[in-house]
Symmetry: C2
Subunit: 511 residues, 2 copies
């Protein structure tokens, strides 16, 4: 238990100050402050001593140096039970500071509002983090508050303990304080990385905010939190049960694909993080129905993402199916009315979702695999026709569509498509031949398309057997990256079977 | 270009100081220092002014407060081209500090060496990070060095520019400086999270060191870096080509499985991050051969992890196969000689690898999904026999083995096993029924086992059809989590077919 006699307040966010000052006054706690905080406290008619008066040292450099003073930091940092420290304090006529209330210049907001580099640099707080770090280090004796959200808790604590705080309370605040200073400098560090185009620095710090706490992780015995680089996510749940960890995983997988498709026509169905049906037919109802037709069995309990506004006619169709989540690039009122009839169905508005982060990382034990995202759009320029038979524009469109989807299917991935709709997806196999067979089986089971079928492979065929299997099943055009020592054999085989063969510039493993 | 006249040095790591001091002397740069650094500089016979002399303020609180002084921070923080700043400086009789050389108390090492909490707290540096942050903020005028590794670069810069530094150089150092302070406080923040059992704090900061730069990411057009919470990885490459991003991904997947198996008998083969063969037969050669037999086609170009020491007889067998990576819990000299014959084959010694991190995270755009790892070992207590027919101990062993492997296969996952060896693995399918079929197809293609076959499913069967398919293919015992509304039907079906059915306590989705 530590009695508080003196508080130092230096805050950028001046919200909710009055009740805090009231409790300090009631406990006869002396207040030291400076600059805008000092003015605000005086405006609220509370007593307050200016830092410069306290330290007997002027505020200089336009405020850059005011609290960086031994009297302030000795007051915070001295160990109350250490006689040598006490002697130092007395010799220098210093006194204890028991409570530090600081929040920093809002560097993150300044960044978000696209200010000039000079203004951004000016907003790097030096004095604030130093006081917070001094107080947090000396938490055995000092209480440190780093956010206006903590005032209520502090007020409760002071009431409960007659102007004192407990060690547990101070330790918790210290933990939060060091997280704040780490977070703050992580934002600065990442800003500098960005302006200097430093993608993979020798040391890297990531920061994130807890934006959602699902009931559990991938499985009920695992804890989980959804974090964001921002303070909130740019998707919005507008109806239904709480989202689970697996929902989030599938939603992000679905949105990544949706965003890669031409705007306002794409439907993506995801199950277990893999797409099981995608279509970009221009008629949106057809787009939805076609995506579903690719594998209506797997779609059961799945996640549907429409990159267009969901309207009544789509909602009526969606309602026929059991789905976990429906994502719309907006959902209109009439559609919402229909979809809301299902109490548990989670509805997500993705109209504000955009892909802003270029790096992707995944941890494994103490290691983190970091890489740039595989996001570029394909065009005809990325494809080289290597067969004698050349694709017409419709075939080329289908090949581009199929190859784009293929990059989002877990490797080894094979996608069969017809009419800019998937008709068979083979995912997650150690053998490419098996992925071919799975895609073909799906097509045989569900497709009644009489149109031409094209195929895409995320990496090269190591042998002729895979492409042979596809051609035997009716595929007339294939796109794949090159790179096998048997590329020539594969081209020959395509020519022998009058198949269109296209080599893509890029490979697209995804695990 | 900024001429350096005064340098402030405060370092915990006192390596390589002499050449640095030589160049400072040659450029007539005044040196200010304190404590151990001051003593070291004097010992090396260089001139140096003590901080307390410079500030005319004593070092107090056993060194806790020495550089937290306006004269120090105004000297660093003033904008050289700002007249008001210059006036402040002159009025207070302060002077410029143009170069700040600081490295922090080695908080991370102190942690690693399991010191007492008090000693750990004592090693939180306050003065150092403050000087670094002041200098880094004012990088337009000030040069900041945060590691002895940067001395050589600084010396070069000063030589090249006759005692000055360029803006670009200072900006780079500033970027590194803020990364250092962020990293430092992230270590402290995570330490406090750990001692207070805070798994999912509202704000979270991660820190990592670049330990490897593969040529590219999952694909050649993606950049990549392998980071670690430590300064090096606890696996060691002892031979072969540079590891690729996909190698690392597969290696970590393989080691996670290896570590879950009984020690010194397990072989795991991984391809595209999924296991395609696992065995824990007691005879190690048999363990290897059996794991391979599960899917010898997929094993081609795969990654093999033996959680035992690889000896000559195993190496001879391994050499018959084309593999990307061989991991051994040590590899003995005679085996090494054989395996090294293949120039490109990557050999990894995993004998120092251990699983220390309990949290796992994966990013998706600006969001990060965090969850605790799914790592607990299974025992018979986690299983509940729900069929009339009860498993004997051999069957139970196989069920536990199969269910453990199942958790590491991408969902939906089905694992068929016999004799504590996988004989069919179905992975990565949106439909559980399809995963059953894939596992069965593998078994039919490659297995010639006459022993009983057991099956494990990572989540419950939603319908009877999946389990029916398994039983028709010769499976006599099945383990699965419960939870379907058709659990009763599935139990009835097991009883009708005289099948052993076991419900596990936990589900094991993995995506």
């Amino acid at each position: 238990m530590k009695k508080i006699k003196t508080a130092l307040i230096s805050i950028s966010d001046k919200k909710n100050l009055r009740p805090l000052l009231n409790i300090l006054k009631r406990n006869k706690i002396k207040i030291i402050s400076s600059g805008g905080t000092y003015k605000e406290i005086k405006k609220l008619k509370f007593k307050c001593l200016e830092v410069s008066e306290f330290t007997n040292s002027p505020e200089i450099l336009g405020g850059r140096v005011k609290t960086l003073h031994p009297k302030i930091h000795a007051g915070i940092l001295n160990k109350r039970n250490n006689k040598a420290h006490l002697k130092d304090l007395n010799n220098n006529n210093f006194e204890n500071i028991d409570l530090v209330i600081v929040n920093f210049y809002p560097f993150e907001n300044i960044l978000k509002n696209k200010n000039s580099h000079n203004k951004i640099i000016e907003n790097i707080d030096v004095g604030g983090p130093t006081m917070v770090r001094s107080a947090a280090k000396n938490y055995k004796d000092v209480t440190v508050i780093t956010s206006s959200n903590q005032y209520e808790e502090l007020i409760e604590e002071l009431k409960k303990n007659n102007g004192s705080t407990t060690l547990n309370f101070r330790r918790k605040l210290s933990r939060i304080a060091f997280t704040e200073t780490a977070y703050y400098d992580s934002v600065i560090s990442n800003y500098f990385n960005k302006i200097t185009n430093t993608t993979l620095p020798n040391k890297k710090v990531f920061h994130a905010n807890l934006v959602e706490t699902p009931r559990y992780g991938e499985n009920p015995h695992q804890k989980s939190g959804i974090y964001s680089k921002n303070t909130s996510m740019n998707i919005k749940q507008i109806h239904g049960k709480q989202l689970s960890y697996n929902n989030y995983n599938d939603i992000f997988a679905a949105l990544t694909i949706s965003k890669s498709l031409p705007q306002n026509i794409g439907t993506v169905i995801v199950k277990h993080a893999n797409p099981c049906g995608v279509s970009i037919k221009k008629n949106r109802l057809e787009s939805y129905k076609s995506a579903l037709a690719c594998d209506p069995v797997s779609a059961f309990g799945g996640i549907i993402s429409c990159n267009f506004k969901i309207t009544k006619n789509i909602a009526i169709e969606l309602n026929k199916l059991f789905l976990e989540v429906v994502i719309g690039n907006d959902i209109d009122a009439s559609a919402l009315k229909i979809l809301r009839a299902k109490k548990n169905l989670r509805l997500i508005d993705s109209s504000n979702y955009s892909f802003n982060e270029k790096l992707k990382f995944v941890s494994n034990n103490e290691e983190i695999l970091v890489q740039s995202e595989d996001m570029d759009k394909f065009t005809i320029k990325d494809f080289k026709v290597v067969s004698k038979k050349k694709p017409n524009s419709k075939q080329m469109k289908n090949l581009i569509f199929a190859f784009n989807i293929c990059r989002y299917v877990k490797s080894n991935a094979i996608v069969l498509a017809s009419n800019e709709t998937t008709v068979g997806i083979g995912s997650g196999q150690p053998s490419r031949l098996d992925s071919c067979q799975i895609a073909i089986n799906k097509m045989k089971k569900f497709s009644n398309s009489n149109d031409e079928i094209v195929a895409a492979s995320d990496a090269f065929f190591p042998f002729v057997d895979g492409i042979e299997k596809l051609i035997q099943s009716g595929v007339t055009a294939v796109v794949q990256p090159s790179g096998s020592i048997r590329d020539k054999e594969i081209i020959d085989f395509a020519n022998q079977t009058d198949t269109i063969l296209v080599f893509s510039k890029t490979r697209h493993f995804r695990h």
